[in-house]
């Protein structure tokens, strides 16, 4: 396997130019900004139970992570 290094110095198995390796384009919006309320949503968790975000927080602080891929 050929491993190519990108301009930021990172290695990955996919070749350069592969869509899997694209980074955050300059000027790209990254969703709600500091000071804005996070939009509410309902999604199933790993056990299939629907989780309603703000209701589930029950008035506590939360960390919300958007992850781009995983191999379960």
């Amino acid at each position: 396997m050929v491993v190519e290094r990108d301009e930021l110095g990172f290695d990955a198995p996919a070749p350069l130019g592969h869509p899997a390796r694209l980074g955050l384009p300059e000027g790209q919006s990254t969703g709600p900004e500091v000071g804005e309320r996070l939009p509410d949503f309902v999604l199933p968790d790993q056990n299939g139970n629907p989780i309603s975000f703000h209701e589930h927080r029950a008035g506590k602080r939360a960390v919300l992570v958007f992850y781009r891929s995983a191999v379960w």
């Binding site: 290094r5 350069l16 955050l24 781009r68």
Partner: protein, 309 residues
């Protein structure tokens, strides 16, 4: 996912956004990926939001590349609005009776893995009535500087200084920028592929880094001599553990006991069923890009041989 989270002892919720509905709602769909790239279309620009009790964003973290990610400890700091260094983190004390210095490597107990951001936390505690100077200072005085260095491939970002306050020195008719009381300077750092890459075994078990500090303490009357101090740390390199999948090598140095093949097979079948043409186009594109990559490797080998001659 249920099996995965049990095996990995994941105590938090893993939410599935199958149609990328929430990703679109948040406006973070990776739209530089074409809908034709069926395996990838629908992924977000990866990032993290921290919200307060009202659900309002108090901090967020999006990096220029998906390879760069913050340590969980740093995210918690951002969510709680303070830095708490674990007792198990590498740390050292310095300074003297007048100015105490504490240096720690924060995040993942200072372990090193490609793209994961850790932080040097340098805490100064000047005694009563003492202050330290920020840039700029007149000739003969020393502003506080922090220089971190390590092996090639360890990237140190610019130090982050807290805000200074202005101090007017009547004798010199000069206003200078100073820090009074305890304060912290942080230096984020992360390794790139040259030092730590998950696509090859590690060359070494640990790396040495050095943190060099210069400062000068003064009270309103007199200044102490400028000082410099150096701190050394040995930081372990992490072996990256990944699920075991035959067709998916190069994503970790150690294939874990968890078998990810059934999941990948289900993903393949679903994509093939939903987008038969897109699936084929994606495979063609993949093969074309892999060939181009091999050509580039051959070309660079040839050039190296020419230089050797």
């Amino acid at each position: 996912m249920s099996e995965f989270s049990d095996r990995q002892n994941i105590p938090y919720h893993l939410l599935s956004d199958l149609d990328s509905a929430v990703i679109r709602q948040y406006g973070i769909l990776n739209d530089s990926i074409e809908p034709g790239d069926v395996f990838l279309y629908g992924i977000p620009y990866p990032g993290v939001y921290m919200c307060d009790e009202e659900g309002v964003v108090i901090s967020k973290s999006f990096h220029d590349t998906y390879k760069k990610r913050d340590s969980a400890d740093l995210l918690l700091d951002a969510a709680l609005g303070r830095v708490v260094v674990n007792e198990s983190s590498p740390q050292a004390k310095g300074g003297d009776d007048e100015v105490a210095i504490h240096v720690a490597v924060h995040g993942g107990d200072g372990s090193i893995r490609q793209g994961i951001v850790r932080q040097l936390v340098i805490r100064f505690e000047p005694g009563d009535g003492l202050h330290l100077y920020g840039e700029p200072v007149p000739e003969g005085m020393r502003a506080l500087t922090v220089n971190a260095s390590g092996p090639p491939g360890l990237v140190f970002q610019e130090p982050r200084f807290p805000e200074t306050e202005s101090l007017y020195l009547a004798a010199m008719d000069l206003t200078l920028q100073v820090w009074k009381g305890a304060f912290e300077i942080t230096v984020p750092f992360y390794p790139v592929g040259e030092l730590a890459s998950e696509t090859r075994p590690l060359d070494q078990g640990s790396v040495d880094i050095s943190v060099d500090i210069q400062y000068q303490a003064c009270d309103d009357e007199t200044c102490r001599l400028p000082k410099s101090e150096s701190f050394q740390f040995e930081l372990p390199l992490d072996v990256i553990d990944v699920p075991n999948i035959d067709v998916h090598t190069g994503h970790g140095q150690r294939e874990g006991a968890y078998d990810g093949t059934p999941h990948l097979r289900r993903l393949f079948l679903r994509k093939l069923k939903e987008h038969p043409l897109g699936f084929i186009r994606y495979l063609f594109k993949h093969v074309r890009l892999m060939r181009a990559s091999k050509r580039r490797a051959k070309e660079s080998n040839r050039q190296m041989n020419v230089h050797d001659d």
